[in-house]
Symmetry: C2
Subunit: 218 residues, 2 copies
């Protein structure tokens, strides 16, 4: 895919606007584990060509919570938080897989958004969809117990990876869910006692997805 | 104040666009306690002339968490959630004080936003500022213990009301913080034992704001 076919409102921009994007566009490949944005700068809007990014927040003590993931053709707005002065929070973006992406520099995007109603409305939809993911997270955290959140996380990982055997550490799960490693380990052992999962070093095999699903919905 | 002077991007709309807003604009007065929006419809954008609104989410079991408050001249976007198809969550809006407000019907706003870059960008800033409030809430819930959140809530209420004597029930505080009445009562009694507050029927007097502040920051 080329950028023109991947950027949703491309055809609603005029020739001059398209030209300004192409002239400033950056193409980049990053390795799994790279931190692409840590809130100290205003990197620009990232469009994922192929790969997987994770957006998370970090506490003063270094605890993490995953806010959402970005997959092929997803656009990351908050790596360009300076384009909107009302964004008063910091998100870290890291590559969860080797990733190829395009970056539209913040200055270019901001000046185009000021003049183009289609681009501004696209940005609105983008923010609304991230907002919806964060609201989902709030509801999870406020109303759902950790066993349900953990079951939901395992099922979602299995679906993303297309495999019922997950290569992930308890520490990494704790970072996704904003919990502690010890708490996750205890809960996973409970799941294992109940024959829902099998634990091995650095791996978790889902044995009974139906029961995990029932646990989420229950 | 009239609407024209209260609506931030009024002067960046053309005559025709201004006319369309004025022709569909609704002016409304509501009593304290009224629910203005409950997610079942798409009421429109509300601009508070005077008064106070509260935006909150509601669990299936009827538990509440306050997301943010709206004061004089604040605009409520999520009472018009249908204008953005990516908004996949439901917020309830209620009047916390007798309130006068204007409502721009969703249809009118949506059609203007499609054609006007200034209005679409204003909407972006509006959403970004609510997003920032919700991110603040997530950080509170994830990283802060309830005693800190309660101290912060009491200080914020005192500041909103301009008084160190708050007329509020423990139940209402639980609803703001997404907690249970019994838990709030226990914590308030601990605050009272520590001489930070004095509890009376339906009232809480803040005795030591400095210590409450230290508790928040600690």
């Amino acid at each position: 895919m080329d950028f023109q076919n991947s950027f949703p409102v491309w055809n609603r921009l005029n020739k001059d606007q398209q030209e300004r994007i192409l002239q400033s566009l950056i193409s980049k490949s990053v390795k799994k584990g790279s931190v692409l944005h840590d809130g100290s700068g205003c990197t620009g809007l990232m469009l994922v060509e192929t790969g997987q990014l994770r957006a998370y927040i970090l506490s003063d003590e270094g605890r993490e919570v995953t806010l959402y993931r970005l997959f092929d053709m997803d656009m990351c707005l908050f790596s360009a938080s300076c384009i909107l002065r009302s964004i008063q929070f910091t998100i870290t973006i890291e590559a969860e897989k080797d990733t190829r992406l395009w970056i539209i520099p913040s200055d270019t995007y901001k000046s185009l958004m000021q003049e183009s109603a289609p681009l501004a409305n696209y940005t609105n939809e983008l923010m609304a969809s991230r907002f919806s993911e964060v609201m989902w997270l709030i509801e999870q955290v406020m109303w759902k117990s950790l066993d349900k959140r953990l079951a939901e996380f395992l099922l979602s990982e299995a679906s993303i990876e297309g495999s019922s055997e997950l290569r992930i550490t308890h520490e990494a799960i704790a970072n996704h869910l904003g919990s502690h490693r010890e708490v996750i380990t205890r809960m996973l052992k409970y799941f294992q006692n109940e024959s829902m999962v099998r634990l091995q070093r650095g791996r978790i095999e889902l044995l009974d997805e139906d029961r995990l699903l029932k646990l989420c919905d229950g």
